[in-house]
Amino acid sequence: MGRIVLDQVSKSFGDVEVIPPLDLTIEDGEFAVFVGPSGCGKSTLLRMIAGLEELTSGAIEIDDEDVTSVSPSKRGLAMVFQSYALYPHMTVRKNIGFPLRMEKMDQAEIDKRVETAAQSLNLMDYLDRKPGQLSGGQRQRVAIGRAIVRDPSAFLFDEPLSNLDAALRVGMRLEISEMHERMQTTMIYVTHDQVEAMTMANKIVVLQAGVIEQVGSPLDLYHKPQNVFVAGFIGSPKMNIFSGPEAEKLGAHTIGIRPEHTNVSMTEGTWEGRVGVAEHLGSDTFIHVHDTGLADMITVRITGDISVKHGDKIFLTPQADQIHRFDPNGQRIA
């Protein structure tokens, strides 16, 4: 079990309110991702759930029990830190077994659990090494192992992959997703990388300046962003967002159109522009279009082979049913 409820939780550092009161419920077994630009309060929120940061006001419940003033280790949660935070003076075996030793568990039982965890994380060959002798990916596995052995009601991940190189990050992302499928334990994952959020989450919580901008499934957020911020934050490359007469013509103060929802033609279309840089990825080509009069730059995605050169004239036509419309306050118009 691991249902986590935040009730009017807020945090201030001195006079600065970093998180105004917010409500959030994470259901048992959910994979929730807190995503937002750096400094948006996502890590602070996670640390408050962990108990490492005190609440300024509000309450946190885990499985219907108020844990607001319960110490971190008594909340039944396990945390994986960005810096791995392994104990450098202990072997991998000791690191993974440490929380169990603190619970005064029987040594035979500790050994058994450590081995099980190590096996599932491919760490059997490294059990007697110290963290300093491991690669980044292995260290992160040890940190995850240390979390798993405790059999927690929820896992908290604080940007666990940002210290890894790109290839390793993709691999670990899959491993963590696999782990979630297998264990069906609640996970809360903090990241600034919207790709991680989209690929891993059941539920994404988009934060900006301590405020929840939107909560929903990845495709919810992709198809129905509630405001301009979420529209711009979710999706890669970013959604093209612009205001002005062309937006008014389409019936809104601000218009958003994703790169993949724009038809491209060399001969005719709604908007005319000039090709800037074309990024050929093989399966897709991203074209940066300038001088459209809409925004500094419009990005469009086209599939298949099309050869465009820098400076070519190009025509763009938005797909009518894929246009996102926002009011002057940046809120979605139904």
């Binding site: 971190p72 280790s73 104990y87 240390r146």
Partner: protein, 277 residues
């Protein structure tokens, strides 16, 4: 190119010569003292006997037979060891608290601690003597241990604080998540990780305690008198007996030099802790 050649010439010849020069300059007074300790009092003051003389052990025999060297040495060991232990006992938790749970007052507290070192000891000499006599602790181990601990605590806390600051906060927090209590954090995580820093702090505090003279000389007569008092006691109205004085000084410095020699690696490591990750 010329600059490179010059600097490399300096590093091949100049730097070692400079290093040896400075080293010998520092070493010479100690060497002189050791040498003098094997001279008679008469030889000690004659320049022609600076390097060439007939060595004698009289000064050392005199020291152990007439001056009860071992009692002073025992007092030095008792007070320095106890004061070091007590300083760490208070200093480690204090530095831990300030390094990992800082409050807005932490910086002020650190400054305030250091400011106590700015007070000239002479300013509180008489109050201290009256106080010590008033509560009946004059010339006792407990008084000397307390005084030595108190004068070394600020510097010990500062040193430990700097070492502890090097430990990533995440590791302490991971410990919190893993279920260690405050004592566990210190025992399981802090002490093993900051071992080098704690050891060099301990060594330095011990050296300071051992060599402390201002208070130990003035707050003791016989019972708790340390080696500093013994050295000081080798004055006579007729003048200084340089041979005897040197022997006592050598015997007082000896143990600490030997200890420092054995702990050299630890000490250097501790003092450069954090410079190289």
């Amino acid at each position: 190119m010329a600059i490179v050649a010059q600097s490399s010439k300096f590093s091949t010849y100049g730097r070692p010569i400079l290093a040896w020069g400075v080293g010998l300059l520092f070493f010479f007074p100690i060497f002189w003292m050791v040498l003098t300790s094997f001279k008679t009092d008469a030889d000690a003051v004659k320049p022609e006997h600076l390097l060439f003389f007939t060595p004698t052990l009289d000064n050392y025999l005199n020291m152990t037979e007439n001056y009860d060297y071992w009692r002073f040495a025992r007092n030095s060991v008792i007070t320095a060891v106890s004061a070091t232990v007590f300083t760490l006992f208070v200093g480690v938790p204090a530095a831990y608290a300030m390094a990992f749970n800082p409050s807005r007052a932490t910086k002020d507290v650190l400054m305030w601690m250091l400011s106590t070192k700015m007070l000239p000891a002479a300013a509180v000499l008489y109050p201290m003597i009256f106080l010590a006599k008033g509560i009946g602790l004059y010339d006792t181990h407990i008084l000397i241990i307390t005084v030595l601990s108190l004068i070394n605590l600020p510097i010990a806390i500062w040193m430990l604080f700097t070492y502890f600051k090097e430990i990533p906060k995440d590791i302490i927090e991971a410990g919190k998540m893993d279920g260690v209590n405050t004592w566990g954090e210190i025992k399981e995580i802090l002490i093993p990780l900051a071992w080098g820093g704690i050891a060099s702090t301990a060594l330095l505090v011990f050296i300071f305690c051992w060599n402390e003279a201002y208070w130990t000389v003035r707050l003791t007569t016989i019972d708790a008198a340390t080696l500093s008092k013994l050295i000081e006691g080798n004055r006579a109205p007729e003048g200084l007996f340089f041979g005897r004085l040197s022997a006592v000084s050598t015997a007082a410095v000896g143990p600490i030099v030997v200890l420092g020699w054995f702990c050299q690696k630890q000490l250097v490591q501790g003092l450069t802790f954090g410079a190289v990750k």
